[in-house]
């Protein structure tokens, strides 16, 4: 199983701080698509992803037990 954490407004959209999912074997891009569809999150494609607190590119493969965080870049200033 994998823990998926949402940050900033993604958390409001998901309605939860985190969810548990079976994501091992998926790439980051595939997980983004899956989560966007199943949890009704818009604009997840432009969010940054971290695996175990380290930046992960879209092609990266997720392993069993990895913790994935989605952090949306924000623009205000």
């Amino acid at each position: 199983m994998n823990k998926i954490l949402f940050f900033a407004h993604l958390r409001d959209e998901a309605g939860e701080e985190s969810v548990m999912l079976e994501a091992s074997g998926k790439t980051v891009a595939e997980l983004k698509a899956f989560v966007a569809e199943n949890y009704g999150i818009h604009k997840l494609d432009t969010a940054m992803a971290a695996i175990n607190e380290e930046f992960a590119p879209n092609e990266e493969m997720i392993k069993e037990g990895d913790v994935i965080a989605f952090i949306p870049p924000v623009s205000g200033g």
Partner: protein
């Protein structure tokens, strides 16, 4: 050395040697909104030698809730932010040389300013300008510090050319419809928190303590009591068009920029994003209503009006900003909504 900086020279990582370095440096602050005014104040108090501040807006009433250099009088006089900032900063520290530029921070303008700049601090409100700062940073080998906030959330990342990944490695493209302060709101403490991170990184770079520079992207949510560091060593993309082996600096190129045109005789500026996209008109309508706009719409477009602001947004991101011929002001309004 005067007594003025005694509490700072007592800090061993700065000391008197570091203070002399700070005094000899020149920082470009892009934007004089919440982050820009705060970053400028901290650096002016710290004894920076020279500050260049560029901003295209004037002080508005809704800025006072979080933009620390400005007063009610600045609003009454509709002072440009850069000018109002300079006046206050000179009262705070008359030893600092301050250049205030009122206008749009286009890639050309920024490249023209960069001469002896040692560091750029991002205090802008949109990713188009950030990507241009990022390309200038790579092309001229000048570090910069990304910072942004919305609601109770914020983030910061320090980019040192040749050492860290760059913003284009992380984002690959300008993210459209990031939340902005005009759509998600913003609280003062989140601004202060980003300023704390940006100015700490700035001081490290100014005293040339590069080993201390934060290697991770920090993000936080002060209302939810979150604080996360994302390690960035693996983010560097060797094929990145901004910092890779064959850089093209794409955001210095006209093709990747917002297109603007003044529509003759109509007192209107047309804005077209560089790449077609799909705006969620329903969400935008809700955001604009919350801001106090009167909004009308249909499936193809949305028109909004509040006091002197009047504009139309189409589904592909194109907009008509009515009642102005000033391109910088029109872009400002557009980017405050779309990021």
């Amino acid at each position: 050395m005067s007594d003025r900086y005694s509490r700072q020279t007592l800090f061993p990582r700065i000391g008197r040697e570091g203070q002399d370095k700070i005094k000899s440096k020149h920082v470009l602050i892009v934007g004089a909104g919440a982050l820009g005014s705060g970053n400028a104040e901290v650096l002016a108090r710290a004894g920076i030698g020279r500050l260049t501040i560029i901003d295209r807006d004037y002080v508005e009433e809704s800025n006072l809730q979080r933009q620390q250099l400005y007063t009610e009088e600045d609003v009454a006089e509709k002072l440009p932010k850069a000018a109002a900032a300079k006046m206050r900063l000179e009262k705070i520290n008359s030893e600092v040389e301050i250049e205030a530029l009122i206008g749009d921070a286009t890639p050309e303008v920024m490249a023209g300013l960069i001469g002896d700049v040692d560091l750029m601090i991002d205090s802008t409100d949109n990713f188009e300008t950030r990507m241009a700062i990022n390309d200038i940073s790579q092309k001229y080998r000048i570090p910069w510090i990304y910072g942004a906030c919305v609601a109770s959330f914020g983030m910061s990342f320090t980019i040192v050319p040749g050492v860290t990944p760059c913003l284009n490695c992380l984002l690959k493209a300008v993210p459209l419809q990031g939340l902005t302060c005009d759509t998600g709101g913003i609280i003062g403490p989140a601004v202060q928190m980003v300023i704390a991170h940006q100015t700490a990184e700035a001081l490290k770079i100014l005293v040339e303590d590069f080993d201390a520079v934060r290697p991770s992207l920090v993000s936080f949510d002060l209302w939810r009591n979150d604080y996360t560091s994302m390690k960035m060593s693996r983010a560097k993309d060797p094929g990145c068009l901004s910092c890779g082996q064959n850089p093209e600096y794409p955001y210095l190129n006209e093709a990747n920029r917002m297109k603007t045109a003044v529509l003759c005789g109509r007192d209107t500026v047309q804005i077209r994003p560089p790449h077609a996209s799909t705006v969620d008109l329903q969400e935008m309508s809700g955001n604009l209503s919350a801001l106090g706009y009167e909004v009308k719409g249909n499936p193809y477009l949305l028109s909004a009006e509040m006091s002197e602001n009047r504009f139309v947004i189409f589904r592909d991101g194109r907009a008509l900003i009515h009642g102005t011929k000033d391109v910088a002001q029109a872009k400002s309004l557009y980017q405050r909504l779309f990021g």
